[in-house]
């Protein structure tokens, strides 16, 4: 089984997306052999009030909960985020969070963000953080939102050892404490592979060695990204069955259990 921890539904403000309806994404997943996906709203990335987009996402996956796992986009810098979180958990049965600090005008170290992390942790919701949405070089003339760096994540990982973080769309972890063995960091974070190399520098292989296969999760970034490159990575890594199962399925499943 393959679980994609990094998928999206709905429109994105700066580029037309295909396969961005529940049915469309499921068709793409079927074509590529991906069984389940954690999905959040692409529209919420640029909306001020994110909650209608969360509601729309929940409705769109209502009939597909066996395969599409909804995640809430919450902006802790916006009025009423506590109510949004409660509604996402209790009414919409969303299973995790997706955070966009640079898009939503807050820092990971801000009190509002730390409060959100605490609240999500109390609700046992894993917190996914995309380090980027799109490649920075193609950003629109309307917005200039910088990527998060792995180094910016480190204090949050340290500050909230009980939380469970999944880092999406990142690379360069091996040059930061996040990708190093004996880094004195809690083992409360998982790293998703969609931007990591699998050949030559082979950052995935190095992370498996440094952190263990139980800390790496499969993800594609679809439908922003084509899912095929992530699948090719799994092929060329030539993992043993146990490691492959952990990375492609078991780690993600455990995070949602």
């Amino acid at each position: 089984m393959i679980i994609d921890t990094n998928a999206y539904l709905g429109p994105y403000a700066f580029r037309h997306l295909r396969h961005n309806t529940a049915d469309g994404l499921l068709r793409l997943m079927d074509a590529k052999g991906i069984d389940k996906a954690w999905v959040s709203s692409a529209a919420a990335i640029t909306h001020r009030n994110v909650q209608p987009a969360n509601e729309e996402l929940a409705e769109s996956v209502r009939r597909h909960r066996d395969r599409l796992v909804p995640l809430a986009v919450i902006n802790p810098f916006y009025a009423g985020w506590q109510d949004d979180l409660t509604a996402c958990k209790e009414q919409l049965d969303m299973k995790g969070l997706r955070l966009y600090p640079n898009w939503h005008n807050y820092k990971l170290a801000d009190k509002c963000c730390l409060d959100l992390i605490d609240a999500a942790t109390a609700l046992r919701m894993p917190i996914t953080i995309p380090l980027r949405v799109e490649d920075y070089r193609q950003r629109s003339w309307l917005v200039d939102v910088k990527d998060l760096s792995p180094a910016e994540i480190v204090p949050l990982i340290k500050a909230k050892p009980q939380a469970r973080f999944v880092l999406l769309n990142g690379l360069g972890y091996i040059a930061s404490p996040l990708g190093q063995k004996n880094n004195n960091l809690p083992a409360n974070y998982w790293i998703e592979i969609s931007r990591l190399s699998a050949l030559m520098t082979n950052e995935i292989g190095k992370l498996i060695k440094a952190l263990g296969p139980d800390r790496i999760v499969f993800g594609t970034g679809m439908p922003f990204n084509a899912p095929d490159p992530a699948l090719v990575k799994i092929e060329v890594l030539q993992l043993n069955r146990k490691d492959k199962d952990q990375i492609c399925e078991e780690n993600a499943a455990a995070l949602m259990s």
Partner: protein
């Protein structure tokens, strides 16, 4: 082996599938990475990252790699000559796998033109690689373009289009400038580099729509869904060249993701590049 023998060999070998890794591949199935790099090193005897590159290519089923080696930039004459010497040595070590672009800085004037002539007379060199020292429409570049035209070889030009000034690359070219250059030199064989490594790829594809003589390579780390499909729709598969630019799984994954007919896939993966190389071969 001299250049004439090498080029004749390229065509003959391709016809008998010797380059292909898989036993079932035929001439049409050859996979050529049109945009790769090898690491710069001081000594041509140093193999650098060649084996790592070949290992990556083997795992992905890439038969041949069209490489350039970039010295410190802006490149000096000594710098690009040293880089091209390493390229020649890499081809000599792996003649069936590595083909070379001669890298020059057009700002070096006649020395750049002379270097192209020198390299293209050596086995293994198949084209010219230009980077970002000068915009491609700067007249200082024209003698280099004219030399490549005379030799009937492709020019792989670094390119990218950002909606913000690119501080580190003030003279970067983009698809629009390459289209402008193609108007001036319709006989030039221009390759706009890395659709997935140069900013707004939708802009690039649209800017190249009417520049029928400009090819676009599919390399780069960006793996946006629909990228290759849009390029095929707007430019046709005849103008696309498969490439990775060291983003290996991205390169192969993008082609796998695209909705292509078998014939379109063959053209992009190697057929179009073979056709470009054959233009050179026919001149002999």
């Amino acid at each position: 082996m001299n250049r004439r023998e090498f080029l004749a060999g390229t065509v003959a070998l391709a016809a008998t599938s010797v380059f292909s890794l898989g036993a079932t591949k035929n001439k049409k199935d050859i996979v050529i990475d049109s945009h790769t790099h090898l690491s710069f090193r001081a000594s041509p005897a140093d193999e650098g990252d060649e084996r790592l590159v070949l290992d990556a290519a083997d795992k992905l089923g890439i038969d041949q790699l069209c490489c350039s080696i970039l010295p410190k930039r802006p490149a000096t004459v000594e710098g690009f000559q040293a880089a091209n010497r390493v390229m020649a040595a890499a081809h000599k070590r792996h003649p069936d796998r590595f083909l070379g672009y001669c890298f020059v800085n057009p700002g070096c004037g006649q020395a750049a033109v002379d270097e192209i002539r020198r390299c293209l007379d050596l086995p293994g060199f198949i084209g010219v690689k230009l980077y970002n020292e000068h915009r491609c429409t700067d007249p200082i570049v024209f003698p280099v373009i004219e030399q490549a035209i005379e030799l009937r070889v492709p020019i792989l030009h670094h390119a990218g289009h950002s909606h913000y000034p690119v501080k580190e690359q003030p003279n970067i070219s983009d698809g629009g400038r390459l289209a402008e250059l193609a108007k001036r030199y319709p006989e030039a064989r221009l390759i706009c580099a890395h659709i997935g490594g140069g900013g707004d790829w939708e802009w690039t594809i649209k800017a190249l729509r009417h520049a029928k003589t400009v090819y676009l390579d599919t390399s780069g780390s960006v793996i946006d869904e629909a990228m290759v499909d849009m390029a095929v729709k707007v430019l046709t598969a005849d103008r696309l060249l498969f490439g990775c630019d060291m983003s290996w799984t991205a390169g192969i994954g993008k082609i796998r993701a695209a909705k292509l007919s078998a014939e379109e896939r063959r053209k992009i993966l190697g057929g179009n590049m073979q056709r470009l190389l054959a233009q050179r071969a026919r001149q002999q």
